[in-house]
């Protein structure tokens, strides 16, 4: 993938993710993580190579069909991308409104997801009245309010303190357990190591590591999961020499 400016952001970055999987995409800043996500939602067109989502080549999705394609993917953007003229509630509701969601549906689903993301008290705030972490959670709430089959999260804990980060990871894990495929881009290596999930590592636009530690139990409860994240051990046992 080359940007119009000539910067090559991704090169030899072939990978595949299974349905209902939970995958981390790690790498230093500038390694191409955000570019992967932008390609997956067809915000960018690859200059070379192909991308398939749910068995469909993205190149074949017509311009007019792109909005409908995007509704199947929840995205937590690195810069949140909240609508500045809408309250927290309305930002989340917008994701339902674009799909033609009824008012009743909106009244049921939005408060639910806001409770889940801990935003119940900030419903009527505008984005510029929220902290970075709160905006990030609004972004997550909006990404997931439709219960999309695929969730992409770009640095979802980038602006959060460790304890809130664990809450967010727990939330993502819970979302994953409902059957949603989750891809999380992050440079928080320590967190990833503790999570013991499949890890794809990007370095200068190249996949340099792809390993599933295989040591986690898929049916681990979210509480066990969170406890493990809080535990002081730095390396998962499987990676020790």
């Amino acid at each position: 993938m080359r940007y119009p400016s000539g910067d090559v952001a991704l090169d030899q970055a072939t990978f595949a993710v299974d349905r209902e999987d939970f995958v981390f995409l790690v790498g230093a800043t500038g390694s191409g993580k955000s570019t992967v996500i932008r390609l997956l939602i067809k915000e960018l067109e690859p200059t070379e190579g192909t991308i398939c989502v749910a068995g469909r080549e993205l190149r074949d999705v017509e311009r007019k069909r792109v909005p409908y394609y995007r509704r199947n993917i929840g995205v937590v953007f690195q810069d949140f991308k909240l609508l500045p003229n809408r309250t927290v509630y309305d930002n989340v509701a917008y994701a339902l409104q674009v799909t033609g969601g009824t008012r009743k549906e909106i009244r049921e689903k939005v408060p639910d997801i806001l409770r889940l993301t801990g935003l119940s008290l900030k419903l009527h705030n505008y984005p510029d009245q929220l902290s970075g972490g709160e905006q990030q959670r609004v972004s997550i709430a909006r990404a997931f309010v439709n219960h999309p089959p695929l969730l992409l999260a770009d640095e979802p804990t980038g602006n959060l303190d460790p304890e809130t980060s664990i809450d967010i990871m727990r939330l993502l894990y819970r979302i994953n357990r409902t059957g949603t495929t989750v891809l999380v881009a992050t440079h928080a290596q320590a967190m990833v190591d503790k999570m013991r999930r499949r890890v794809l590592e990007l370095s200068r636009g190249r996949i340099v590591r792809d390993e599933a530690t295989g040591l986690y139990a898929r049916d681990e409860t979210t509480r066990e999961f969170a406890n493990r994240l809080r535990a002081p051990s730095t390396r998962p046992p499987g990676l020790e020499p």
């Binding site: 915000e43 007019k64 409908y68 995007r70 609508l83 500045p84 917008y94």
Partner: protein
């Protein structure tokens, strides 16, 4: 999604982006005011030019010895010519009465009436005056009048040409100015809208990224454009109406240009302004948005 949703969306946007919405409204207001003043002026000018042109005519002077029967025959012949709209017969006696009223002293000196019978010949179109003259004095017969009882045919050739040229110039200038002004108004409104949309392009991008279709995003903007355009035009109309009733109507009786019958009826002018304001603003919003929808 329902129309109500889009309506609520557009009012939300206007509330939260009051400054750019107001700028667009003010632009529509000002351009509509200028157009509302300019259109009647152009029309009155054209009306004046036309009334001058309608006075362009050919005078046919009879021999002093012509009998009333001769005059009636010539009048019939003239009426039969192409491009003649109407013929007005002025008898010697009428001409004498007219002229002596203008200058009583000069005519009492003469004692007798030196004036001939005259036919005022009006062409169907001022531009055809020379054709009519040619019909009356065909060049093929060396410029001799078509009837021996006609003394001379005069159309004050130079004056006529000048009148036609000047009035043509006035009409063309007015038309060019109108086109330029309308063009400037459209560009001004469109540009104001574009600027206000530019400030919101990120918002449009985000909407696209969370799965909104182009028209889902566009409708509120079009409604907003309609509302802003209508509000600006209505304000302009109110101001024009007050000005007309308070200032122009009292003057109209003494100033013929204002009362010129050729000006557009006031209600039609207002309807035109309202329609133009709404259309330009709504279509401008819809079209300007296109650039930002390519995400």
């Amino acid at each position: 999604m329902s129309f109500g949703f889009f309506l609520r969306e557009s009012f939300r946007a206007m509330r939260r982006n009051a400054a750019p919405s107001f700028a667009a409204l003010a632009t529509v207001l000002v351009t509509m005011l200028v157009l509302g003043v300019f259109i009647p002026i152009v029309q009155a000018t054209n009306g004046a030019a036309n009334s001058v042109r309608s006075r362009v005519l050919v005078d046919v002077f009879m021999n002093t010895g012509a009998t009333p029967a001769d005059a009636a025959r010539v009048e019939r012949e003239v009426r039969a010519l192409p491009h003649v709209k109407s013929v007005q017969f002025v008898s010697k006696a009428q001409a004498y009465a007219q002229q002596s009223k203008l200058d009583p002293g000069a005519f009492t000196l003469l004692g007798s009436n030196p004036l001939p019978d005259t036919l005022h010949v009006y062409p169907d179109n001022p531009g055809n005056v020379l054709l009519v003259r040619n019909e009356l004095t065909p060049p093929s017969s060396g410029g001799k009048p078509i009837d021996s009882m006609i003394q001379t045919v005069s159309n004050k050739k130079n004056d006529t040409k000048k009148i036609l040229e000047v009035t043509n110039l006035v009409t063309i200038t007015a038309a060019v100015l109108t086109v330029l002004l309308v063009l400037a108004s459209v560009l001004l409104i469109a540009n104001t809208i574009r600027l206000s949309l530019y400030a919101r392009r990120r918002e449009v991008e985000v909407m696209k990224l969370v799965g909104a279709t182009d028209w889902f995003i566009r409708w509120p903007f079009v409604i907003e454009g309609t509302v802003v355009g209508a509000a600006g035009a209505v304000l302009a109309i109110v101001i024009l109406g007050i000005t007309k009733v308070a200032l122009l109507d009292p003057l109209a009786s003494s100033w013929t240009l204002i009362a010129a019958p050729q000006t557009i009826p006031f209600w039609a002018l207002l309807a035109l302004l309202l329609g133009a304001g709404v259309m330009v603003s709504a279509i401008g919003s819809g079209l300007s948005l296109r650039r930002f929808l390519r995400v």
